[in-house]
């Protein structure tokens, strides 16, 4: 078995995350889809690290886990703040910066 199934899995996971960001309105689901896309990149880095025998990719994946943690903290704080402002989790309700009212 070559590494191709891993690459297929990475592509599928990234696309599921993209579909979640594009089609859902719930802020929490959008957040988790972004996390899923980041994690699929992590899996790609780990696979490449194993296929090439290169430890640098593992180090990048480890640093990426830290970046994902920072992103989670900020995103959850923003969701809490937005919910407190407007009492809704609908992403369509937050369009103060948009021209289309």
């Amino acid at each position: 078995m070559s590494a191709d199934p891993f690459f297929l899995l990475v592509a599928i996971l990234f696309s599921i995350g993209l579909i979640g960001v594009a089609s859902r309105k719930n802020l929490f689901v959008v957040y988790m889809s972004i996390e899923l896309m980041l994690s699929s990149v992590n899996l790609l880095l780990a696979t490449l690290s194993q296929v090439l025998g290169d430890a640098n990719a593992s180090v990048i994946a480890l640093l990426l886990i830290g970046v994902i943690a920072a992103e989670a903290a900020l995103f959850l704080a923003i969701i809490t703040h937005l919910y407190r402002e407007k009492r809704t989790l609908d992403s369509d309700k937050f369009k103060n910066l948009s021209k289309v009212k």
Partner: protein
Amino acid sequence: MLDFNTLETIVFSILTLFMVGGSLVMITSKQTIFSAFGFLLAMIALGGMFALLNNRFLSIAQIMVSVGAIVILSMLTILTVNAKEENMPEEKNKFILISISAIIVSPFTFLLYKALTTLPEHFTKMQTINSKVIGSLLFSEWVLPFEILSILLMSAMLGAIIIAKDKLKGENS
């Protein structure tokens, strides 16, 4: 190249089932907490996938940080926010939207797969890896990104506190 025996192929299939199923549950379920459970399943399976790739260090980091911190923090926030039914977004034709975006995204998926399969040919192959090599690389070549990451984590923590706290009492608005 990876050479898997039958047992590892079976484990890979089960983990793939968990990951794809968990993420599908995540983007389709109506209740937010069920989405979080699907996400949890996908993250645990990703940790198993790292273990299958013979990368113990990354697997433990994934279980500790992604599962232990991020997913649990998300669940706590979901339960603390405790949104009622009328505060949730109304998504009547959710499945139609998901199917349309799946149709739009699927050529991109194929393209990504084709691009990724040719990716390893463009790099030179190196020695085998283990945790010792990763640790020594992390603290020699990658020490500057490591320090920048610690600053990023601290500023994210401060920013999260400042964004999420109530307004100060002096500000009347």
